[in-house]
Symmetry: C2
Subunit: 444 residues, 2 copies
């Protein structure tokens, strides 16, 4: 509805009404409407926005659309918008384009800026470097507070976050940090190096983004400087970009725990074919691992023919084992992702999970006995089912507690121990437990 109003305004040509409509919305909302417009109206909207707002709106739009719009605008407007967009977004845009297209857009940037952007584009996609924006404020350690504030008044318009000022020494190395608040509260004639904090948290450009995200969340920062190996500042990473990393990381772990390779794109962006490829691998591996349940059952064929009622409880027993294993593994893998549990805790974890498993096993054993009674298979088979349920639940807890920790130790992402993986592990071993119990307790 509001999009329709915008369309009417764009096509109506009443600029005042258009401006007053626009002023009611945030850049994100305008981008949302922008995405629903046809090409002509998209161009009209971007042209009618002030450059800063136009750049902000474009930042929320997909790279291919960014490129189409920038290519159709007047050259001057394109140059203004590109130079106004934050540097990490420009680098992302250029990386998403065909090299020829990227080269064309590059010509709109100043030589100086071109070089900086090229540097940003060289960092691997998962590294801190690839999230960097160079639109930060720096000050010399020898400046006074007043000089620094004047400097900010001069260059601050382009900066993305001005909550912190990064202090560099005469050799260009990052030597401290001062918040804008501290600068304002300080005596204007004080020297920056006397009031800055020197115990600064910075990260190397090579660091994994997920590590940066946990540092930032640990120390409650809203931006973190990224430095070269010799401590020169490359730029900063702001908290809003890291929130996206936190979301992506959790999404990947979800999909791994669901027994699928992670999908990189949002749900509807993935083609059926790419979803198929992400899923079929694990399905096949699990199928092969599960296949030996067939051999186990064939091995016990005689027992099974003799007491066919044993078959009635196979899905129930295996299901219960798989369920309790899945409960343990999801809790544990998440706790490991958050750094709450480490390999050195393996015995603590085992003690906890085995004790819990014992309580759960006893409970499930009792209900299994009741269930067998209701199915009318007799107390002997009922006891076999109950004891098996007890052992299978404890066994599932042990496997689910130990495997993720060992994998983590072996530098394999523990999230590959998915619910389906644990269920599969428990299915085969659970059958062996069940039939062994049956042979012993029923004298078969």
């Amino acid at each position: 509805m509001m999009t329709q109003e915008l369309i009417d305004l764009l096509e109506g040509g009443n600029l005042d009404a258009l401006q007053s409509f626009i002023s009611q919305y945030q850049p994100y909302d305008l981008a949302d409407m922008f995405n629903q417009l046809d090409k002509q109206n998209q161009l009209r909207l971007i042209s009618s926005l002030p450059t800063t707002l136009g750049a902000e709106v474009l930042e929320y739009v997909e790279p291919d659309l960014q490129y189409r719009i920038l290519g159709q605008l007047e050259k001057e407007k394109t140059a203004l918008l590109l130079n106004e967009m934050s540097s990490d977004m420009v680098a992302d845009l250029l990386l998403a384009l065909h090299p020829h297209q990227a080269e064309r857009l590059m010509t709109y940037l100043s030589t100086d800026y071109q070089e900086k952007i090229s540097n940003l584009m060289n960092f691997p996609p998962d590294s801190a470097g690839s999230l960097v924006t160079i639109d930060y404020i720096s000050a010399r350690s020898s400046w006074t507070v007043d000089q620094t504030l004047q400097h900010i008044r001069k260059v601050g318009h382009d900066a993305e976050i001005v909550s912190y000022i990064y202090v560099v020494d005469p050799r260009g190395k990052l030597s401290g940090i001062i918040s804008l608040k501290e600068a304002i509260l300080a005596n204007p004639s004080a020297r920056i190096e006397d009031i800055m904090r020197a115990d600064i948290i910075s990260v190397p450009a090579q660091m994994d983004q997920q590590e940066v995200a946990s540092l930032l969340s640990k120390y409650d920062l809203i931006a973190i400087p990224v430095v070269t190996l010799d401590n020169r500042i490359i730029g900063i990473i702001t908290v809003d970009d890291l929130i996206d990393v936190i979301h992506e990381e959790a999404t990947e772990d979800f999909q791994k725990l669901g027994g699928s390779q992670p999908l990189v794109e949002p749900y509807f962006k993935n083609s059926v074919w790419s979803v198929f490829r992400k899923r079929i691998g694990w399905l096949l591996i699990l199928f092969v691992a599960e296949a030996y349940t067939g051999n186990v059952l064939r091995h016990y064929e005689a027992t099974l023919s003799e007491v066919i009622a044993l078959a009635f409880f196979i899905p129930l027993l295996l299901g219960t084992g798989g369920n309790s294993g899945t409960q343990t593994v999801t809790t544990l893998v998440r706790a490991m992702a958050l750094g709450e549990v480490k390999f050195k805790d393996i015995f603590k974890v085992m003690r906890k999970e085995v004790t819990t498993g014992l309580l759960l096993g006893v409970s499930m054993g009792i209900v299994a006995l009741i269930r067998a009674e209701f199915l009318g298979v007799g107390i002997a088979i009922g006891s076999v089912v109950a004891i098996s349920a007890l052992i299978v639940v404890i066994w599932a807890s042990i496997v689910a507690a130990v495997l993720p920790l060992i994998l983590h130790k072996l530098k394999v992402d523990p999230a590959v121990v998915s619910g389906p993986f644990i269920s599969t592990m428990v299915d085969g071993t659970g059958l062996i437990i069940y039939f062994t119990m049956a042979k012993i307790m029923l004298n078969l």
Copy 2:
């Protein structure tokens, strides 16, 4: 090791050496060491820290320890620390204590501050209001920029984040926002109401924290104002507190998807008993739901006795169905949590999942045929297994695609459709599919 160094310094009494040691670390790291000290040294450390730093360190410490320390310090120091801590942390501390203890601590606060803190303590735990800090900066819309900056110099020391200044009109209602950067860049004699942004994003105190978190991440904000129903500002929520909410939300969804009720505390903080209680409920529900597989199998007892080889493939077929259902459900529930998929997309989702399920089903049918061949059960039973695998995989995809969307529509959290839940649903229906196919194809 660094903790040992700190202990030596605390017990040695060389204050200069202690100060220079302390100056190397961040509040978070000092809190980490603090937690490992004995009581005497904890008191020594807090007493020797400057008040601001001491308060920051305490903020990272658990409420019961905060209280023990505050109770043992000199009254004057306690008052200083309490007044320096951010108001949301003080409210959390007071809420965690016994009312008598809270009352005792309250006496250290000014009457004015006492009242504000009491207000904060009245908000429900999951609401925006309970995350609010009142340590923000506000300005009157009629002030000039210069007046505002002077005001910040006067009151800014206590403010938690001074990146934004919140503008209130003469009636005390939130009317706009201006960033500190904008204030510094503006003409000192400009009036705030002329340069502020009036299109401000604020949230009511009653809003759910998770909703606030997604607003903040959508609009890339670092703080968001919280208002009463008549638009008076109560305080602000800062991004660092919301990152914790984002983490907690993902953790809850993980545990639900693993078929367990969410644990509120970090892994090791939960007693075996509380973990047991969170898990047993779903285990029992799933057990009951799974139990009818026993009836299905008893119903087909004659068929099963006649062709005992059919039993060999039960765990394999049900496992494969459960696995592919789990893959779908984890992907989908996560996409719904991130707002990528909504109920209106139900047919799009079904088309996508059924097509993917068809591809997966055909693949799994083929490997099932190969597996049956290797187990030497003959082509007839092999065909039954293959066709059943195909149908079961497609069926699991449909169930896993539709159920979470319907639950969401019914206002039930879709994360209750866990992997174990889907596996259980598929187990019973999968058996019916399998035996129906067997009866038809083998003429039983």
